[in-house]
Symmetry: C2
Subunit: 335 residues, 2 copies
Amino acid sequence: MANIKEVASLAGVSVATVSRYFSAPEKVSKKNTDKVMKAIEQLNYKPNLLARNFTQSRSYSILVLAPLGNPFLLDVIQGIQEIARIKGYTVLLVDALESKDEESKCYGMLETRLVEGIIDFKVQKRLDKKNGTRIDNIVTLCDYVENNPSPVVTVDDVKAAEKLVDYLVSLGHRHIGCLTGLDFIHATVHRKLGYQNALQKAGIPLSDKLIIKGDFSVTSGLNAAKEFINMQPRPTAIFSMSDKMAIGIIQGLKAEGLRIPEDISVVGFDDIEFAKYCEPPLTTIRQPAKELGSSAMKLLCNLIDGKYEPESVLRPYFLPTDLIVRGSTAAVKSS
Amino acid sequence: MANIKEVASLAGVSVATVSRYFSAPEKVSKKNTDKVMKAIEQLNYKPNLLARNFTQSRSYSILVLAPLGNPFLLDVIQGIQEIARIKGYTVLLVDALESKDEESKCYGMLETRLVEGIIDFKVQKRLDKKNGTRIDNIVTLCDYVENNPSPVVTVDDVKAAEKLVDYLVSLGHRHIGCLTGLDFIHATVHRKLGYQNALQKAGIPLSDKLIIKGDFSVTSGLNAAKEFINMQPRPTAIFSMSDKMAIGIIQGLKAEGLRIPEDISVVGFDDIEFAKYCEPPLTTIRQPAKELGSSAMKLLCNLIDGKYEPESVLRPYFLPTDLIVRGSTAAVKSS
DNA sequence: TGTAAATTTGTAATCGATTACAAATTTGAT
DNA sequence: ATCAAATTTGTAATCGATTACAAATTTACA
């Protein structure tokens, strides 16, 4: 494989000229440009980017730590990719469900220079290491906590959940079940808060008996369905913290002969592609997936470029959500 | 950020010793190991992997070119990741639906040393460049063509489709519609072949009128549904080349008041997670997604390590598929 | 044409590791 | 205690680019 020196010698110029041919072609005379071009062509030369990255001390790569298995993520990742491409970054992807060990290895890639930034789908607790401050060039996506150690792009889960449950309340529901997500994800906490806010506003007493712990999987929805059915009194509506679980719930309820939405209304969260192809189509909260991804990536690029005062970006950057009303919800039966 | 020289000088040893501390710790005396450890600790030293990669002329990265948007891919990618982690590679992911330009840039990453191998979800036509031979360290996944220029891991789409349509025939169907995928994907060609084989075996005349062109999206399924309904004679069963399209078809048929499977049977291909949560649950072909990913990655690792004779791996590596019978198929109505 | 300014070019240092080879040290056997 | 073998260590070259700086060349204008 030819290197820059060979190109230079074949072209009869110095290596600096060849290097400039790539980095600042306007500074190379027409005559030499031609010579260099020919030599490159003849030797089929491709610059060794490992060498370039090394000298520039840049990897032009960023890392995305995402819990694959969530179909909602595909769109988010596409949003990330879109900006990455424009800005000249390549995207490394790691499944975030790996071990803690694996995770810290990923964070280590910042220090070993393999990546210039990280987009993580969950808040890191232990970001503050030795020096007690936030670590640079990390953006938290779709998760958020008070005093977040890194900049955040997400939706306002509290408001979104509140909006959704407000809607159920407006349909006359007063016994509203809740299926939560993984509890180390802060979105779970926030959506629960929104759920409770809505109930309180409506003067409905809160009850932990109406809340079941889920894990965002279809299966946990299926299992929860049975529990909801056996509740006394049985809820007339169920708020599921993800569409996937809502689909499981609907399956489980139908298996027991219940009709949706006539007997029980079910709502999800995310608006994944299949939400509208459910039977019945799912009432849910739409998150602007692609925008979440692209906004996070833009933010990360600015962090890498040092365009921000660190403090100025620690306030969460909330994107708007939409309530999508479909067929899985109906007014409560007057009993 | 401390470098190896500073560590060496603080520890009172040579850089070679520090380097060996990482690469061959058994060759460093206990005394020096301690000294180096302390110096590393004290300086919070992390080796600059950009430098290491450069000197070793290795990136320890591989690229996956995948059409995101296919939920089936998530599992495949997890399979890839699993092996990648074990073998010490990181995975770059690029959405394969990008422009040709983007695509060749990705292939260029092999020559610029940024990645050591590529897993591509489609066969490359122009792999044979100047030297007319196959390009090393590329594995084609889930796509296949005669005289493939690179090693292939996939399922036998012909056999799988044939198995599926055999099943429809066994239910008494003789008018079987077909919704194809993108026609530059060879799997489309092969599945069509399997479809035709099954019909021929059963002595059913082939007719292009029963075949509609799709693009693997739900929408194309929705659109096709209307066309199938208006066919004369109307098919009693439809073979869709992906689950997503099948879901669209089912939606479209139901919207027109048809019952599945009583009026029309529908089958898909892939067995994505939502196939079993459809209404009715989808009869389909299960592809071993995770195994496809892990097998491809293992193969790629061996290619990178030069363990194979090039010719020995150009025969496609077929993984087995299963026919999954669910509720979307039924015996044809005796008319 | 002469000279200053602007442009283009080349030399050589540099990035931070790895590693071949030689030198130094330790170990082990007699 | 001696010497050979084995182990450990250090010196310095190397990977392939970028880039500061100086030198050479070209351009512009009086």
